[in-house]
Amino acid sequence: MKGYYKIADELFEIHSIYDEVQTMCHDYACAELPEGVSPIVVATTLEEIREEQKLSDEEMIYEGLEPIAFPDSYLETLVVYRKMCSVLPHRGVILMHGSVIAVDGEAYMFTACSGTGKSTHVRLWRQLFGERAVMVNDDKPLVRVRATEDGHKEIIIYGTPWDGKHHLSTNMSAPLKAICILERGAENEIHRVGAAEAFPMLIQQSFRPDDREGFIRAIDLLGDVAENVGLYDLHCNMNPEAARVSYEGMQ
């Protein structure tokens, strides 16, 4: 199976064994490629799908969880994204793990270790802001660092089809205003943190390619992200008030 997709302003030609990845990327499909444009070609093999299962098993064991045998069609979606995200740093784009919501056209990312409650907190934002809020991506958005003509760096975040178990995402982009590191707390409290302080967490919540050049490029781009968006540490509970505290803290 083959399909063309525009994701994070990059064109991809995805060849897959199963149709799940093609179906998943449907909202990002291009009927045809613009003339003279070479897409990034991504293809998968059964060996790579087996390897993805092994990687998943290792991660589950590392986190103290029982490994889960996933269907090959699902594993293939991960292989495809892994391959895309291994190339993208060379084009100024990295994958981060987090839940992203845009309010009044500006995006806010919430990142944390799995199970902390990112999606739950973002749901509170959707309840608070209603139609002013748009879900960009609930799990694995892409982030682009773009140099501007005046020598600054602009950070843009994109919705992607890899959007978490609730499949919350929009095919859109927005300037990334802030990244918020979320931790559970009894009270709602937010404070600004420096780039160096937040950087270790941002590294752990980003995808780093295996190849040396891609790895270094990804870490350097992540440094640009850390230096060019607002960074915050949020301790919050599950009450609706938490959304108001975090939004106001990031203005």
Binding site: Y62, A196, F199, F215, I216, I219
Partner: protein, 86 residues
């Protein structure tokens, strides 16, 4: 002695954050944070080096006394050993 993994150090706001590169990232998923002088010591540990050689190298870059440099080298070595990467 030598770092167990290939570590890439990135400087941000005066702090050096070290991350294991490539396949090594699956063996060491933590990050190590050093100040500038710590980084100036750790960067020599990407290759096999003895404690004395390390002190000599750092002494070429810093004007402190050898005793002061030796103490800094020992502190960085201890930190990296505590992290399990040396």
């Amino acid at each position: 002695m030598k770092l167990k993994y290939q570590i890439y150090f990135k400087e941000l706001a005066g702090k050096w954050t070290g991350v294991a590169m490539g396949p090594d990232a699956r063996k060491y998923n933590n990050v190590i944070i050093l100040n500038e002088s710590g980084y100036d010591i750790a960067k020599h540990l990407q290759e096999e080096i003895s404690r004395e050689e390390l002190i000599d190298r750092v002494a070429q870059e810093y004007e402190d006394s050898r005793e002061v440099i030796a103490a800094q080298v020992d502190a960085v070595i201890a930190k990296l050993q505590d992290e399990g990467i040396l």
